[in-house]
């Protein structure tokens, strides 16, 4: 049986709800769960002050309502499954190491910051800094997957070290900024300054993109590894076309101001000649 939380009182200021996580709710009854503490502004409060709680914590966790001002849902989870029915606030799945979060709506900034395992799926749009490091951290995401079916904002995958981030729509600026390794795939348009400061890692785009002058064109080829990734994304429900699966990609190496071991792969829609 699952544990369900339905928002009945919207928070006036952001609600820090780390308690809404399988790590904290496992094995609890509805009554016990309602007593867990959340932080509302400068005071602590029981979960039950904002949510109606039903069921028991031995299955999935469902959270329903306009959760745009509810932060840190799923933080630190290592197993289990959460389904969010509605828009969700910042720091979703922060530091998670396993399990799955599905958002049937939009997500705020900082989706999955410094996560190292598990999967977050956002059916709508995500804000800025998806899969990124907390300001001041030397390393960001270290594993797991973030899949955004809609658009995402700026600085997707900032300081990412390992894992996979997929954006079905467009991304903002500085996609993969300071990327250490890992893979970012953007099916829509990439914003400005993609890959700025990247050391290693792969950023894949399906449309022409503005390239920084510190990136060098290498060749146009058909990377086999990318087929595995795109087939994986198809199985997750993303609209991967045969042209994308079988196509040729321009390979750009950069960022030369760093190690120059990173790569941008851009689907080559106009043949295999080097870009002018």
């Amino acid at each position: 049986m699952s544990l369900t939380f339905t928002l009945h009182t919207a928070p006036v200021v952001p609600l820090e709800a780390e308690a809404l996580s399988p790590a904290r709710l496992g094995g609890l009854s509805a009554a016990e769960a309602a007593k867990l503490v959340v932080v509302h502004g400068n005071r602590s409060a029981p979960l039950g002050e904002f949510f109606r709680v039903e069921g028991s914590g031995d299955g999935e966790i469902h959270v329903t309502g306009d959760l745009s001002h509810v932060k840190l849902i799923g933080a630190g989870m290592s197993e289990g499954r959460m389904v969010i029915h509605g828009p969700v606030g910042m720091h979703l799945g922060a530091g998670m190491t396993g399990g799955e979060i599905l958002v049937e709506g939009d997500a705020g900034d900082w989706v999955g910051p410094e996560m190292s395992g598990g999967r977050i799926v956002v059916k709508g749009n995500a804000g800025h800094l998806a899969g990124s490091a907390i300001r001041g951290s030397p390393v960001g995401m270290q594993g797991g997957e973030i899949v955004v079916f809609g658009h995402a904002g700026n600085e997707v995958g900032h300081l990412m070290r390992r894992g996979l981030i997929v954006v079905g729509g467009d991304t903002g600026d500085f996609t993969g900024v300071n990327l250490l390794a890992g893979t970012i795939i953007v099916l829509g348009q990439l914003g400005h300054r993609t890959g700025a400061g990247m050391k290693r890692g792969s950023i894949i785009g399906m449309h022409p993109a503005e390239m920084l002058p510190t990136f060098s064109y290498a060749c146009t080829y058909r990377p086999v590894f990318l087929r595995l990734y795109l087939m994986h994304l198809r199985r997750l429900g993303l609209p991967i076309t045969d042209a994308q699966l079988n196509g040729s990609y321009q390979r750009w190496s950069g960022d030369a101001i760093e190690l120059n071991r990173g790569e941008l792969l851009l689907l080559d829609s106009g043949g295999t000649s080097a870009p002018v």
Partner: protein, 299 residues
Amino acid sequence: MLIQATEIVDTFAEAFAMWAARLVITAETPEWALAAAQSMTGFATSVIGCKCEAGIEMPLAPEQTPDGRPGISVLLFAMNAEGVGKRLVERVGQCIMTCPSTACYNGLTGEQRVPVGSQLRYFGDRYQISKLLDGRRLWRVPVMDGEFLVDDQFGIQPAVGGGNILILGSDQVATLKAAEAAAAAMRGTPGAILPFPGGVVRSGSKPKSRYKFLHASTNDSYCPTLRGMSPETEVPEAAGSVLEIVIDGLDLAAVETAMRRGMQAAALAGALRITAGNYGGGLGQFQIHLHPLLAGAAA
């Protein structure tokens, strides 16, 4: 027991515990996947002289492979796990990585693994790239036609080697015809391979020799030209030729299935007699009795 006019001798094949791996080779076209597979399984007929036994298991359609390209599955067998690991690195490196457009993936689940891509990555001379997708680590090794993609680790498992049938015919032409039919029927058995050329071996051996420097020598009991001289000849007067088919399998069931298919096909193709090779049961870990194997199929 008879299948039509073919006598099936009431005996058993003696088979051995081995270790095995399965590789999935993909390429731009089926032809290039086949070229890599044929190269990789060359000089791999017997552990006696080749350190391993290997063969093509079956072709794979694009939808059956990890990257959606045409492919071939190959099985490799050795006497121990370490041997499998070493032979994989050698053969994947020299025969698959060298072949245009190929990629090479592990084809076995299971917990025991040997490093393959994690060894071959060094060929990339610091330019190699690791990718981790859904718990699977792969290596991208930069090569002249793009990249060679290979799994970091390959699964291995206990397996069965040396299943066999001996086909006796009136002369070389007739026996070859029966053996060809048997090999064709056995080829493509899931989990099994026929490691000898064309699946058939003409120089079957016995595990001893009068020469101290040799561990094995011609199986004189089945040499027709020695019928008058060999003290333990098994060749009847009507037989002018004997051919053997050796089967290695990921498990005993695969070996048995292949043997059953082979015996039925050889009998229908006019073999005089079908028997099997063993060492009295004192060497191998498995005994595959021919009559129960065929009786089970009839039932």
